[in-house]
């Protein structure tokens, strides 16, 4: 585990017990990739993520879920039956050694196991425990069932995604699991800081899947717009109403996004359109200015000018030429484009991790951090129960024969 430079890792020395499904699995990945010792506590059949696609070579298998592999880098795995009283007793011993427990069971389930915060903090007052549920531990919807689709719908994100003439859509990456996991990880780190600096005690953190979605489309501020202006936001399709231009434009071989954020950037874009298309009207004084009231009035015309420019080149040409002119245009990428991107490769975004069953794959390195102090991701996702011996025998003092008994008794 600990290597020489171990102390350098941001979260070295913190232990997290991971009882999460898809709602919180990214939270514990973030903590693990930052250097915490995250131990996934799985039922003997494996956590839910091991059973969902996509699978390596499309072969369903507990060690081949690409979903599980992505979200469980840097973690360790033990098996434990939390519904068995002996399993609960073992979990309590583990909780004594832990700084953090993260769980995503329905409201009240941990209490039925005798493993709720009150019980665990009695054993370990320094413990920080976080629960992630669809709607939180309180309120009239606390027992409502959730899903990514339901959370994205109720969190207001779908209302602003898609085409005004069509139906609202969710994002294609099960987006709702990211905001709650990120806020939960922040809350956990904050609670650890407060514990270590000020109080010496842990605390409980109630997270919902639903609420953190709202500040992920914060500039719309839908509730305030309703309260003060009786307006609901609309879906806008490919061209934003926040700025003009701010949208997606067709190129010879795909699409690219374009926007301007200063007067200078608009002037540069107008000049570029003029150079390529010979269109003089684009230089009109009326169209100038940072947020371009004039462009707003002549929206369709402005969009048409940019389309003439964009469709005269490839998306890479459009992207690079714009950036050379100091405008923040970006290509619309597929995962294939991303995997082949020269910048990401050169700036060390990828790390190749070897997994005993699926072999080598490239994973995004260090999350988005590139500071000198951020530990690299070093370990692919663990095999089911891979660390049983290490933790049960090495730490809790069980013998090899004890493990045989526990296994036969359906406890690990």
């Amino acid at each position: 585990m600990a290597k020489e430079a171990g102390e350098e890792r941001l979260l070295e020395g913190y232990r997290v017990l991971d009882l999460t499904d898809e709602k919180g699995v990214y939270c514990t990945k973030l903590l693990a990739d930052l250097g915490a010792d995250v131990v996934i506590v799985e039922p003997s059949s494996g956590s839910r993520g091991r059973h969902r696609g996509p699978f390596f070579h499309d072969e369903p298998h507990v060690e081949k879920s690409l979903y599980f592999l992505y979200f469980n880098t840097s973690k360790r795995s033990i098996t434990l039956n939390l519904e068995h009283p002996d399993g609960q007793a073992i979990f309590k011993r583990l909780a004594k050694t832990a700084d953090v427990v993260v769980e995503t069971f329905p409201v009240g389930y941990m209490k039925t196991l005798g493993l709720d915060y009150d019980a665990l903090s009695g054993i370990n007052p320094k413990l920080v425990m976080t629960s992630i549920t669809p709607f939180g531990q309180t309120g009239p919807y606390k027992d409502y069932k959730g899903s990514d689709l339901v959370a994205m719908a109720m969190g207001g994100y779908m209302q602003i995604t898609g085409d005004p003439e069509k139906y609202p859509v969710r994002l294609g990456n099960e987006h709702s699991h990211y905001p709650t996991s990120q806020y939960a990880a922040l809350g956990i780190l904050g609670a650890l800081y407060y514990r270590d600096i000020t109080s010496g005690r842990g605390q409980y953190i109630d997270m919902s899947l639903f609420e953190p979605i709202i500040p992920y489309h914060l500039e719309q501020h839908q509730a305030a717009m309703w309260k003060f202006q009786r307006q609901n936001p609309i879906r806008v399709g490919l061209h934003s109403y926040i700025g003009i231009p701010l949208g997606v434009y067709p190129c010879k071989d795909g699409w690219a996004a374009a926007l301007t954020t200063t007067d200078k950037e608009w002037d540069g874009l107008a000049q570029w359109i003029y150079e390529v298309t010979g269109e003089k009207a684009v230089l009109d004084e009326e169209l100038k200015g940072v947020w371009g009231e004039g462009r707003r009035k002549r929206r369709d015309e402005v969009i048409a000018y940019i389309m003439r420019l964009s469709s005269s080149m490839t998306k890479q040409e459009f992207f690079h030429q714009a950036q050379k002119r100091d405008m923040g245009f970006e290509p619309v990428n597929t995962p294939e484009d991303i995997l082949n991107d020269p910048h990401l490769a050169a700036s060390g975004f990828w790390v190749e991790l070897d997994h005993p069953v699926v072999g080598k794959l490239r994973y995004p390195r260090q999350g988005p951090f590139c500071g000198e102090d951020i530990p690299e991701i070093e370990k692919a996702a663990p095999l089911l129960g891979e660390h049983n011996k290490e933790i049960y025998c090495g730490e809790l003092g069980f013998t090899k024969n004890d493990l045989v008994v526990l296994r036969s008794g359906g406890i690990i």
Partner: protein
């Protein structure tokens, strides 16, 4: 008043737009003292976005901060910046390297002034590599991250969300990394310099698809609101204009409960729908049949009936639904606060003196001991006196002089 988790941490924030100010706003809500350095000479463009001045934006990004005016481009501002660094735990900025250097506040200079300060640098694409210095922004990065090609309607090529996708991911990464760096500094005595990237913060949210392409050469497809592993899983039209309710069924029990809510019409017994695979194969027809039922009800009623029976369901919410949500109200999510409107025609220079009222959201972390704080959005420069006189212990004459030469403005 209960303390915040970051009580005693002082942060200097310098930079415009969304991800960077949001980072400071959340730090402040968690108890840190965040000093926002800005100038009336070049106010943040976000103050002038249509709609934002009307309370629908800026307080969410700047509430609770200590707001000072200091024109960092002014030569006389330089020593003041370094005094701030000397008295702070962290410096967060999103300016590009050459600009910080020009102002004399490149990271080596900042570190020389305060060897223990944590530096959080937000970039577009990272400091190294072929695209170094390129501008990447949160909104278009939803496209460069691959989200827009896997979102939306099967018949289209690309679909957009009207929001600054990666800004929010970047802000949260910055926050996590900053608190982790505080923990590490406490443990080891060593500060960190941490770089985040708007593009990379978004890219890590399509991870499984990157593995899928490597392993199976498969590119993601647009499935509307369907799910590859569940059915029915969609939004269904309800009474009223553009009203919808999401329903997602993952288990056999939920499917049976859904049929019960619908009154078990004969089609629910049709063998076309009896197993998950059958439902996937006949999904268009299934969605039509469910939609013919939901259209007779209000979206709220569909949600309540489904949830009562144990089926995951939820209204596709708009502003009104969020504002009136009984769940958000029960959890005190929106809170009233004061803010000031900038004068659109005299950018930043003349701010209205009377506060307006708006609502802002609670930072959605439910701490049992240290609740996240909610507070007002001050005027630009409101905390000059406190910061310059009390924290930096500058004399009244010095502050006056710097104001006259235009460094403080």
């Amino acid at each position: 008043m209960a303390k915040g988790v970051l009580e005693g941490v002082r942060v200097i924030e310098l930079g415009p737009l969304i991800a960077l100010p949001l980072t400071g706003r959340i730090l402040a809500a968690l108890g840190a003292e965040v000093i926002k350095v800005e100038s009336n000479r070049v106010p943040d463009v976000m103050n002038y976005l249509p709609g934002w001045g009307m309370g629908s934006g800026r307080p969410e990004y700047d509430a609770l901060k200590r707001k000072i005016t200091l024109d960092v481009a002014h030569p006389e501002a330089l020593p003041v910046m370094h005094k701030l660094f000397a008295k702070s735990d962290a410096f967060v900025t999103n300016f590009r390297e050459h600009i910080l250097k020009r102002w004399g506040i490149g990271f080596p200079e900042v570190r020389a002034t305060n060897p223990e300060i944590i530096i959080m640098w937000q970039t577009g694409v990272g400091g190294d590599g072929p695209y170094a210095g390129y501008k990447f922004f949160g909104y278009p990065s939803q496209h460069a991250c691959g989200i827009s090609l896997m979102t939306g309607y099967p018949e289209d090529e690309v679909t957009a969300a009207e929001t600054s996708y990666s800004d929010y991911h970047t802000a949260l990464f910055q926050l996590m990394a900053l608190v982790a760096a505080l923990l590490r500094r406490k443990r080891t005595g060593k500060p960190s310099t941490i770089e985040t990237s708007i593009w990379k913060a978004g890219l890590v949210t399509v991870g499984p698809d990157m593995l899928d392409f490597q392993a199976n050469k498969r590119l993601p497809t647009r499935m509307g609101n369907r799910d590859p592993y569940a059915s029915p899983h969609n939004i269904y039209p309800c009474k009223g204009e553009d009203r919808w309710c999401a329903i997602s069924v993952f288990t056999e029990k939920e499917w049976e409960a859904l049929c019960d809510v619908l009154g078990n019409p004969p089609w629910t017994k049709d063998s076309k729908f009896s197993t998950l695979l059958d439902r996937k194969r006949n999904e268009d027809e299934l969605d039509d049949l469910i939609g013919k039922w939901t259209i007779s009800y209000e979206a709220e009623e569909v949600m309540e009936r489904m949830q009562k029976a144990g089926v995951p369901a939820g209204v596709v919410a708009k502003g009104q639904d969020l504002y009136e949500s009984p769940q958000l109200r029960a959890r005190d999510f929106y809170q009233e606060t004061e803010y000031y409107i900038p004068d659109f025609f005299k950018p930043g220079i003349e701010w209205e003196t009377a506060p307006q009222t708006t609502i802002i959201g609670r930072v959605p972390i439910g701490f049992s001991e240290t609740p996240a704080k909610v507070g007002r959005y001050g005027r630009v420069g409101e905390d000059n006196e406190y910061v310059y006189r009390e924290i930096l212990e500058m004399s009244e004459e010095e502050v006056k002089r710097l104001t006259e030469v235009g460094a403080i403005r």
